[in-house]
């Protein structure tokens, strides 16, 4: 327990072993300092800086309160369009991942033998650790005009653009959906499913009325990852999206190209608000206990 008593074990250990509250304070202090001051503090700085502006001559950030950035977000139609597109992409990616992942998770949990189950779990998680960039790049190669997909289909590929972006993002986040849904299926007792079959329900009816309602929180938990990761992505879009722009591309452009940190922060409020709303919506399903 006393993880922090390196050099003077006898004295500090007798002090700490009689005072659980002191031990707890010691254990919590550094992680809390890091996560609250460093991390939440940074989020607050971002929120505040969204109301700053940039001096148009020097390009320096001016730390005075102004609503200009927020007004610009709502008045320039570009930002609304891109925000809507990004959210639709995130929803589409999530739905594709649900459709692919649910049967896979069901198979791993209820059909595979215990030995095969471990192997399959390793097989579906390993691609997560293959470099993110490499996987996005793989789809760039797959979808290239002279690439494998064009070779197999005789040139009928989606090419680079919005569909390619959705496909690539769905591929990238698929394991994030499979694992929680597998865990969800694993918690569904076999006897419930068997009872449903014994009482005459067909496979589809059983899945719809028994299994899906029970694994829904797990699906919701997986969707938090697929949704949030999509909202924050500009790399995969840059690799396979052609000229497609998502929110994160605009944020990156404002910070790096336009050198307008306050407006980049203001734009970041959109994905932040979207994910917070999503988390609140998902909280009611019990998803957060499944993350």
């Amino acid at each position: 327990m006393a993880a922090d008593q390196g050099l003077a074990p006898t004295r500090s250990s007798s002090y700490l072993s009689t005072r659980p509250k002191a031990r707890l304070a010691l254990l919590l202090s550094v992680p809390l300092l890091w996560l609250v001051v460093m991390y939440l503090g940074s989020i607050v700085v971002m929120l505040v800086s969204a109301f700053w502006t940039v001096d148009s001559f020097t390009g320096a950030v001016v730390q005075t309160f102004t609503l200009d950035n927020i007004v610009r977000l709502f008045t320039d139609p570009l930002y609304g369009t891109v925000a809507l597109r990004t959210i639709l992409v995130a929803v589409g990616v999530t739905l594709i991942d649900v459709v692919i992942a649910v049967p896979m998770a069901l198979f791993i949990s209820k059909v595979a033998s215990p030995r095969a189950r471990v192997a399959l779990l390793v097989a579906v998680t390993t691609p997560l650790w293959a470099s993110y960039l490499v996987k996005a790049y793989a789809w760039r190669i797959l979808l290239a005009p002279n690439g494998p997909l064009a070779f197999v289909t005789g040139g009928n590929t989606p090419g680079y653009g919005l569909p390619a972006t959705v496909i690539t993002l769905a591929y990238l986040w698929l394991p994030y959906m499979i694992i929680p849904v597998y865990a969800g299926f694993d918690r569904v007792s076999d006897s419930l499913v068997e009872a449903s079959f014994d009482l005459g329900a067909g496979a589809w009816r059983t899945v719809r009325s028994i299994t899906l309602p029970l694994v829904f929180p797990a699906i919701a938990a997986g969707s938090i990852f697929t949704f949030s990761l999509t909202l924050g992505d500009y790399i995969a879009v840059g690799i396979v999206g052609g000229k497609t722009q998502l929110l994160a591309n605009l944020i990156y452009g404002q910070l790096v190209t336009a050198n307008n940190q306050p407006f980049a922060a203001a734009l970041s409020l959109i994905p932040l608000a979207a994910i917070i709303l999503y988390l609140f919506a998902m909280r009611r399903t019990g998803a957060l206990e499944n993350v």
Partner: protein, 270 residues
């Protein structure tokens, strides 16, 4: 479990397709690194190891690899300390706000990477900049450590929960002091989880690009940043392809290590 055979067969086929989808792009990357065509068209025109020989001597890729390893090790050590402390606090004590800790730890990977990146960038540049802080390797490490804490935390916390407290109590009953109980009973119990958490935290940091982009100074190039900046340069394509192939195959290393040391690689990242 007994499922109707039609459903079973459908699930078998679906699983097969799913695994194919997961692995075909990775196989393609490996195949492509041996493609002798300079335009990397498909099907490959011939087999070559020339690109591999060139990659081994690519100084840009190698120095980026060194930066990534250094950042990964430092971020991993910080995450190991903070994640373990938080896990012990949550699993071995009851206190007000205990459930909030888990939420706080998960938050950096729940929020979109670009939000974390912009937030840290704003803090480092606008707030800490006047105090002499500049974007560099240290700021990258701080950013990486923040979202790596959750991996160590999840691993250690799950292990502590499974271990229960009875062994530690037995140790105290038999006369061990707090330090002896920790060193001889608790630590050997969580060692596997610590190793697994450390390996996976390193792997997560090694692969990260979004937060890195916003926290790295101009002189800092991690391997993902190097790949991204060379991805669209045709004359660098052969070397990029080889680096990509190595990284695609290297994915088995963290999974294998985590599996070996904790017996459970699946709860760790998701």
């Amino acid at each position: 479990m007994k499922l109707p055979s039609a459903l079973r067969i459908t699930l078998y086929i679906w699983m097969g397709i799913g695994l194919a989808i997961l692995y075909i792009p990775l196989l393609l990357i490996v195949l492509n690194s041996f493609n002798s065509s300079r335009t990397f068209g498909f099907p490959p025109t011939g087999f070559t190891i020339e690109w591999w020989q060139r990659a081994v001597s690519s100084s840009g890729a190698l120095s980026a690899l060194g930066t990534s390893v250094l950042a990964g090790v430092c971020a991993m050590l910080i995450a190991l300390a903070l994640g373990t402390m938080a896990a012990f606090a949550v699993q071995r004590y009851t206190f007000f706000g205990r459930t909030t800790i888990s939420f706080l730890v998960v938050l950096p990977i729940t929020l979109p990477g670009i939000v974390t990146g912009i937030a840290l960038n704003a803090t480092f540049v606008q707030v800490l900049g006047p105090f002499g802080v500049a974007l560099g390797l240290a700021t990258v490490i701080i950013g990486h450590a923040t979202f790596c804490i959750v991996i160590v935390y999840n691993n250690v916390q799950a292990r502590l929960r499974r271990m229960g407290t009875s062994l530690e109590e037995a140790s105290s009953d038999l006369g061990a002091n707090g330090w002896q109980s920790f060193w001889r009973v608790t630590f050997p119990g969580v060692r596997g989880a610590l190793v697994a958490g450390a390996v996976l935290a390193f792997a997560l940091s090694f692969d990260e690009i979004v937060v890195t982009t916003f926290t790295a100074g101009p002189a800092i190039q991690t391997l993902p940043l190097w790949i991204f900046s060379n991805l669209f340069r045709p004359n660098q394509a052969p070397v990029v392809n080889v680096v990509a192939a190595v990284l695609a195959v290297a994915a088995v290393v963290p999974v294998w290590l985590a599996q070996r040391f904790s017996g459970d690689s699946t709860t760790s990242r998701v």
